[in-house]
Structure formats: C-alpha cells, structure tokens
C-alpha cells in the first residue's frame, strides 16, 4: 500500500511517519511536498505534526490553503483515508474536513508528555484492530490542543460516534484530571461523519516500536493497513 505523507514548510513529524510506514509496517511511504497537486497512486494520506508556516496567524490557518490541500479535499470526498496528527489535525479543522476548532491549551503551556487515550469507537478504519474501551499510552506535544465546537455540533459528534479518542486515566476513566489541555468533552481525536478522515492530537508515530519503550501507537497504523487491504480485497472480489 502507498501512504502519502504531506510535507508543509514547517512540518517536522513527517520523517517519523515515513519511518513507521516503511520500517514498521513495511509499506511504501511517499513524502508529498505541499505544492504537489496530484495524489494519484496513493492509498492513504497522512498530514503529520509540526509547525506548518510557523503556526503564523493560527495553527494550520495558512497550510490549509497550500496547493496540495485541493487534492486532499478531493481524495477525502471520494472516500480516501486521511489521517491528521497534531498539526495535521489542526490543518484538517481549518480546512473544514473535520468540524470544530483548536484553542490554546487551558494552562497556556506547551505540553509534552505521555497521556492516555481511550478508544471510544473501535469500528473505524483507524481503530479496527483495537478493542472498544482500549487504553493507549501516547505522547502529546502541543500548545493548541484544546478542542472546541458549538453545542449542536458536539451533540452530533456524540450521537454519530465521531469522537474516537478521549483523554483518560491509565485505567480508562475519562476525568477532568486526565484532560491535559481543557479540550471539550476530553476529546483527543475525532472523525468526520463519513468516517474516512480522522484527526488526533497525540503522536502515535512516536510510539510504534518496542525499542522506543512504547508501541501502543502501532495499532492505529496497523488498523489503517488492515482496512486498506480489506477494501482492496472487496474491490477485487466485486
């Protein structure tokens, strides 16, 4: 499978994503410069973390207008799998591919530490190999991870099972104390209504190998690969 990793000026987690896809998953990882307008031949797209455009104006506000984003929007509208990690999630929000917006962390600090997130929905292409309620320990590193949306949208997210990950205690309890940034409803990651686009603030690409002391993040990438393989099989059989 071919995974495209979009590289914006200021992206800095693209290499970790490429490493996980190629060395851990054994798949093809292709860096895609933000000026590219074609994503042909790619099975999935990853928008990595970093500081695209230095977070100038608002994080992700300028990157959302990069030439490649037109192709990403088309790819997503055609059902293509899109994963946004941290800054990637912020860009997807600004681009309107996911609902809501990010505010500055409640504490005002840039928080860089391991947190625990609970898999609220294991019936997605990104969590298909997880158990519902599974707790993953994954690091965060951000100053704007305080997810916000209006009450109507929040109700819709809850009703449609679009909240995929919530910050929780190591035991899986969703509590205010477990929330590192003030994010609404402890939201750490959401998907779009159609289910093919996911954004999450934690960095699974930083914990996908045992040698790093934590490989909890690998299951997200394995789930994506599993879903892609199943889809290809369906297409071939049909």
């Amino acid at each position: 499978m071919n995974f495209g990793v979009i590289v914006f000026p200021g992206s800095n987690c693209d290499h970790d994503c490429i490493h996980v896809i190629s060395s851990v998953l054994g798949q093809k990882a292709i860096p895609v410069w933000h000026k590219e307008t074609s994503l042909s031949g790619l099975d999935a797209i990853i928008l990595p973390g970093g500081f695209s455009y230095g977070d100038y104006l608002r994080t992700g506000a300028i990157a959302r207008f990069s030439p490649v984003m037109g192709a990403v929007k088309t790819f997503a509208s055609e059902g293509g799998m899109v994963l946004g990690i941290c800054n990637g999630f912020q860009i997807l929000l600004e681009a309107g591919l996911l609902p809501g917006a990010m505010l500055r962390n409640k504490s005002l600090s840039f928080i860089c530490k391991d947190v625990h997130i609970k898999v609220e929905n294991a019936a997605t292409p990104f969590t298909g190999l997880c158990e519902s309620g599974q707790v993953l320990k994954i690091p965060i590193a951000h100053a704007e991870g305080n997810y916000y949306t209006d009450p109507v949208t929040l109700a819709a997210l809850q009703a449609n099972a679009q909240i995929i990950f919530r910050y929780c205690t190591p035991e899986g309890k969703v509590t205010p104390e477990a929330n590192p940034n003030g994010s609404l409803d402890n939201i750490a990651g959401i998907r779009n209504a159609e289910g093919n686009v996911l954004g999450l603030m934690p960095h699974p690409e930083r914990c996908a190998e045992e040698v790093l002391g934590n490989d909890d993040g690998r299951v997200i990438f394995l789930s994506m690969l599993d879903a892609l393989k199943k889809a290809k099989l369906k297409a071939v059989v049909a």
Partner: protein
Amino acid sequence: MKAKIHITLKSGILDPQGKAIEHALGTLGFKNVGNVRMGKYLEVELQETTQDKAEAEVKAMCEKLLANTIIEEYRYELAG
C-alpha cells in the same frame, strides 16, 4: 487605503491568555480590573481606492483567512 482589522475571540470562548494577563495586572497592583480579553490587530494596505470595493475585499479576507469564524469575530475600519 489601509484596513485596520481587529480579531477577537467570540465571547464565551475560553481565553486563558486574557485570564493570565488579568491576574498579572492584579499582581502588579491594578485593582478593579475586570475581564481581560486578548486579540489580534492587523494592518492591511489595499490598492483598491473605492470604499465599497475595499470593504468587500477586507470582509472576504477576514471570512476566508484572517479570522476563524468558528471561534473569532472581526471588525475593521478603512482609512485613506
């Protein structure tokens, strides 16, 4: 023409920076300080000389890029 644009968080949106500044003012001895909200100020020079057209341009800039209308509101004034 020059557009002077103010972008602020919508009321009701948590503004931790504003709160931090409010507390700092209190610590410095400025009593009777109420709510503090922090925003952004931009100056945009426009080639357009017609007031109506310039306003329309600035509004479009704010809606499309300068403000995230989910969480921010904007106001502007045009001069020159």
